[in-house]
Point group: C2
Chain length 364, copies 2
């Protein structure tokens, strides 16, 4: 079987590598020394590096990696006026990498994330677990108490309707973090010493109708199924808010996945998050988000996408209109964000001419 | 602090024992030798044993346990004509124990369940974990990716709305099983050798709006909050179906908890389930349920309890009417079940005169 590796002594193919079908997207402002630790796992893949901040600075990438690198000048050149939808001085810029990729799958990781160890002390191949998650179905319509029913040694429990056991295509695999947990600034300030030391050996589907806080630190997705909704919004330089890029994407993605009957998983794999960002700086970036989210969450909980929105693009354009109409009342920022959402889709479709056909029709 | 034990060398009280506030309900047809293994954990508590089958048979209970035992003659004597709502020759009879208890909390366990070990080899005190689960809030309104945010070493992650961090009162704690998983007959037949060996170190809230298969093998609940909905239906002798008692209760309970903004947790603690029941016998009991559930699940997914139903009893009576009206079309059994649901509530309120006041008002 091409593209797969087999475990010695086993006739069963292990997880496919998907090396021609997956790009790794890394937003950064510094030399990518962290890749050394990931070499055994990442070297087979193509990297898309999105350089944030000063474009005259040179980012060093360890030898032997296959990559393309885009700085702000490249983004401006490629997108022209539409570059306005890509954030600057915020890791939200990473979504430019999703747009220029031509692959089916994306894995994105922060440059302060390292290889974690499982409870037996073995290095965790995070990417392999993400691929497993993406290639097996999700179960968004009913809860399975023994967690992932497709995992070896597990199944659907008594009382799980047989008609729902085929599950749904998986669009997103949200991985977790050992060591520094992904806390907001207030929690960081209150619990500066808290570390996540608990390895929970589970992958869960987030049920249909339930929102979750999607973190962009360790995240994989099927670009064909959900790519155009993976917009990380307007954050950072010139914007009133930061550190809500992945949250914004997560709310939009989840609502659209629910509408298109696609699955979103969370849990394994873990990465080792090495360093807490400065809580004081974070508080400044987050504080508007902290009160805005009290309105944003009910907005996303209540939004209903019309039935005729049958592609991710159509869903996303519909959402952008609702954002302007409903959230625009909170702050003029949301009107600007709604426009940027439209610009994002226009830019996506320009760079991905088959774009409008994307969405659920391309599910394998 | 009365009713709690303290860890030597620690000033922090550990989980309260709740020994005057919790009954253990055990349905059985045999001598309760399995209690020997549970002695260190169960002996402080009062047991309510519901003897199923032949009432002339004597059930032996190991010495030193404080218990009351009810056989079919007792049930008939206590409930009179209303005893018709209590199943015979099916572990569904256990719900009689919930009704006669006068305590706030119930833990129910099957007599083929033994003490499991955690990954460090330590005996798991299942009851202590259930009490922890019941005494700490649930998070049904938004998903926390690091699982239980109230657990030591954990918290709410970035992006979790602050207004939702108080959570909801926990009504149900659903524990899991190592060794023999709770599979239906077809899965048992297909995978006779499958064993659950995976210890997932997590307690999760099942999100609002999501149904789950509730197993009665290892289950705790707050009787004041949800007791009247814990009816295990008409199963076994004289009924067309078996092994759906706990499922039925779970669907009703979840829909009512969602309506009353109460939480349902699943995950830890594990017990060791020793013996798979006979899959051929199970298939005979289950086969109607297996096709009926394809209609029952959408029924429960779509039912909307009116706002003025503000107690568990009112919600349950409303549900009983819907069951007769909507599910009665599938089979006359559901008309009978709908009537039995009403009888159950009448019997509950007779035995629990404060009954109508039960429900969310009694939340601490």
């Amino acid at each position: 079987m091409a593209g797969t590796v087999t475990v010695p002594g086993s006739s069963k193919p292990s997880t496919p590598l998907l090396k021609d079908e997956l790009d790794i997207v890394i937003p950064t402002i510094r030399n990518l020394d962290f890749l050394e630790m990931w070499r055994p796992f990442f070297q087979p893949y193509h990297l898309i590096i999105v350089q944030d901040g000063d474009p005259t600075k040179t980012i060093k990438v360890p030898e032997g990696f296959d990559y393309e690198l885009y700085n702000r000048n490249d983004i401006n050149r490629i997108l022209g006026p539409k570059a306005s939808c890509i954030s600057f001085k915020d890791s939200a810029c990473r979504c430019f990498g999703y747009m220029v990729s031509k692959k089916k799958y994306i894995y994105t990781i922060d440059d302060d994330c390292f290889v974690a160890k499982d409870p037996s002390g073995k290095d965790i191949n995070a990417l392999e677990q993400h691929i497993k998650n993406l290639l097996s179905p999700s179960t968004p319509f009913f809860f399975n108490t023994l967690y992932d029913p497709y995992r070896e040694g597990a199944d659907f429990v008594r009382g799980y309707p047989f008609s729902l056991r085929e599950g749904a295509h998986t669009a997103v695999s949200h991985g977790l973090w050992l060591n520094i947990p992904d806390y907001d600034a207030p929690t960081q300030l209150v619990k500066p010493k808290e570390r996540n030391e608990r390895y929970v050996d589970a992958v869960m589907t987030i049920p249909k109708g339930t929102l979750f806080p999607m973190c962009g630190m360790n995240l994989a997705f099927d670009r064909d199924l959900i790519g155009p909704a993976m917009y990380f919004g307007l954050m950072g330089d010139g914007q009133p808010i930061g550190r809500y890029d992945d949250m914004w994407a997560g709310w939009c993605v989840k609502v659209i996945c629910d509408h298109l009957s696609l699955g979103v998983k969370t849990g394994l794999p873990y990465i080792w998050h090495s360093k807490a960002s400065n809580p004081f700086v974070n508080l400044k970036k987050e504080y508007k988000g902290i009160f805005w989210q009290e309105d944003i969450i009910p907005f996303f909980q209540n939004v209903t996408i019309p039935k005729d929105c049958d592609t991710v693009q159509k869903c996303y354009i519909y959402l952008s209109g609702q954002v302007k109409e409903k959230l625009g009342k909170i702050d003029p920022y949301f009107a600007k964000l709604g426009d940027a959402m439209v610009t994002w889709i226009e830019a996506w479709d320009e760079l991905n001419p088959a774009g409008p056909a994307a969405g659920k029709d391309k599910a394998k």
